[in-house]
Symmetry: C3
Subunit: 350 residues, 3 copies
């Protein structure tokens, strides 16, 4: 990055590189080569309320929990943000077009990783997207979040109710401790699944390095069900997003579902005829997508029947169908360019 | 295309050319000059089930028809995919801006063409979009599809029910005969307008050359009406799509409605005050559009009143209004760049 | 601009400059440097009906008013289009990322400006967006529109009913006087808030220089309420749009809300717990956006609960919520690139 951001901005306009963000006065763009998130993060100042809370040993989560009316179930999660070696196209094959996907596809991603109580032991690997967080209306979700990355990151939820300091968002000089969780620190988020928050949502980093940690994989699904609602027999959570060369250091942009690209690498969904099948679809990149499912269609809440639906960054939607059509089907983004750069997968019905 | 797709991919990133697809290991991009679809197609292997079915003389359509419960009406279509010389701006005028549209606008498109029973005689020219396919709930649609192009293509329907092998989609090594219809071969698609499939839909190629044949014009409208439902007095089917230089060999991208660009070339719709007027709008390119109609508005199924609506690739929507406002009106995409590159037309109400 | 538009179009494809429009045969693109709208406008011919009406001294507004059934309330506005020096980032700070926004941010915009009856005195400055126009169902809106710019411009409304000649749209040789209001001329628009037009809408220029005057700031909000409907306790009208270097002569694209970029410059919304709060959101550029509000969510008309919503150019939507969550919140476009180039702001709840 040049010494003069103004000239740099002019250069960006000329070169076609898209500006991703400006961090600590440095313009970060898609034509940079791989971005050094950790290096950049060392130039970001710790906000005053973060320093003060640490100095006083305040626990905002405990305080918030104490303030809640007693009653509902508390669902407790232990989740860490960690680096993870991630292979976007492990088979190096595109089953849709029956051809090889050439080139390297592994890079240093960020993932959320679930742990057992007290961070005793991991319950699996760090993944893209992170683990499912779920609740029913009336529950309180407590997430003990530990940052094992070299850069400050957070967890910001969509849809659910949360008090201001549980927002998980960097807000410059107004940033609360939950909006700037430093390396090796733990913050306890308390989120409340109040009446009127039911739905399928995302959580994701919204810290001072935004959007770079999200683009490296720090997002995951959050579902709030109605009280006592039966779960579908099969249920799929599908995040549509991209891995850009500036994030991966790889060649070309990968259009992904759940961190993977090309059928045979993306999730292969399975269901049986007669089952009640639930789909939850999310977008979490700079692009707009459409979700299309072959051989099936569903009713929207307004009564329209669709088999293809537009959604944008941080949108989420759900639908259910009763499975009636056996076979090997595609699900895919119907933006042809995205489809052909990996945003497709199999849905197998037996 | 260079010998090394990895370097080529890097080059694409530098040059700003968008990757359209990868076919037989060849990366095909928007900055290629006109793409040789037929030449590329000769490098694609015929899938094993396609070869086997041909060798055994199997007729999947006849088998599917025999398996259906008898009862509903069968609506039979004979449709061929054919090359067609297509003029995007036949008047060479843009009536919206009252100016000349300079440069050539004719190219070798692909179109679906309707024939009489048994392909005896054409019922018109091959067009972009193809002929309207329509049914009522309960009907079975049978499409005898003949490929008169030099490249394998298909017909893939949206919305309607179809068994797995009637999908019309290339699926690599799992491809059924209907997903890879070779030159001069005929395949019979059987699609079922079951309860819950009513709506306005698209059909389009989804074969091994995808998305190139779609981008050359292989798409059309499919409507499934409720049983006995009265048709509107006037009804319009409008596909919003683009012709890219890589497809046409022409200069600049044309933003089209039904294969034409600029008012006076795009469909001029006509209706009279008092008529019930139906609009069916589709997107079938890489872009998101909004549909705007001057001097009018309509009710969405959720009760909202709108005069402008976002839709994406393979989305479709319909609305009706009772005409109450005479005059010369525009319909157009409200993405200003698309509007000014041709995506507009007249709606004349007398 | 080169002498040969065809070669120019080829050049545009190579350089990555997006074509904005073609005016009087001149291709106008985003890589031009600042566009000389006034200079271009001198090459546009006055349409015949405009000249004829002027010659005969016809007043289409008076004629339209006389033709209306008497009864409803008439709401009269005096609005001029004027040049205005506009600062997109007056604080030169981005409060979201706690950093300086470097470079110049002031340019010569266009704005709609409200006047008292008879254009006696301005009721404020010309602003981006223009003044709120409001009515209840049954009302007639009369806008006396004066053009104080050097280029012909208009006012075109969305949603509301208007007769053909009140469209405010340039239509080439069919252009009515209201579609081509020349410098220092006044045109009286008559628009009718008939039953079925209630909602939140935009008005904007749709004259012969389209889309340049819109991109320079000529748009504003129009709301039609149900008869006797109580207004929310707090109400916000937020237009999402961009200022491009070709429009501003500045470096880089500014992603704006109501003409400003970056929290602390964009509108800082304020409400109190317990208040009924109404949001009206619009898009008016070439891009698709999503509107996200931290710490809150709302019900869509179809019953879905959302906190993030996709909208496109000229789309508009509204929602209400009862405020229950104090604190300092963000509203923003969730397209990360737009968010980080300024499309964010504060919502302060006490």
């Amino acid at each position: 990055m040049g010494p003069d951001p103004i000239d740099r901005r002019g250069f960006l306009a000329l070169s076609g590189g898209a500006l991703l963000c400006t961090i600590a006065g440095q313009e970060v763009a898609t034509d940079e080569g791989q971005i050094d998130v950790e290096g950049l993060s060392r130039q970001v100042k710790v906000p005053p309320k973060v320093t003060a809370a640490e100095w006083r040993g305040e626990d905002a989560g405990a305080r918030r929990l104490a303030a809640l009316p007693s009653g509902g179930t508390t669902r407790e999660y232990w989740i860490a943000a960690e680096p993870v070696q991630w292979d976007i196209v492990p088979t190096h094959r595109d089953q849709m077009m029956a051809q090889k996907v050439k080139g390297r596809s592994k890079f240093g991603a960020y993932g959320y990783r679930p742990y057992s109580a007290g961070f005793k032991s991991p319950l699996g690997k760090a993944t893209v997207p992170g683990p499912l967080i779920e609740a029913e209306v009336g529950d309180t979700i407590v997430v003990h979040f530990r940052n094992k990355l070299q850069a400050p990151v957070t967890m910001h939820p969509h849809g659910i109710f949360y008090a201001n300091e549980m927002d998980g968002a960097y807000k410059g000089k107004w940033t609360d401790p939950g909006g700037f969780v430093q390396r090796n620190r733990t913050f306890t988020y308390v989120w409340e699944a109040q009446e009127g928050t039911e739905g399928s949502w995302l959580y994701h980093d919204h810290g001072p390095m935004d959007p770079l940690p999200v683009f490296k994989g720090l997002f995951g699904p959050l579902v709030i069900r109605k009280r006592g609602e039966a779960r579908p027999d099969a249920e799929f959570f599908l995040a549509f997003h991209t891995f850009d060369p500036s994030i991966t250091g790889l060649q070309g942009t990968f259009y992904c579902v759940n961190g993977k690209a090309y059928a045979g690498n993306t999730p292969t969904l399975e269901a049986r005829v007669g089952q009640r099948v639930g789909f939850h679809v999310y977008g979490i990149d700079n692009f707009f997508h459409t979700f299309h499912l072959h051989g099936h269609r569903w009713s929207e809440p307004d009564g329209r029947i669709v088999d293809n639906k537009t959604f944008g960054p941080a949108d989420s939607f759900s639908f259910e169908l009763v499975e009636d059509n056996p076979g090997r089907w595609f699900y895919h983004c119907h933006v042809f360019q995205h489809l052909h750069q990996g945003m497709n997968g199999w849905y197998l019905v037996s």
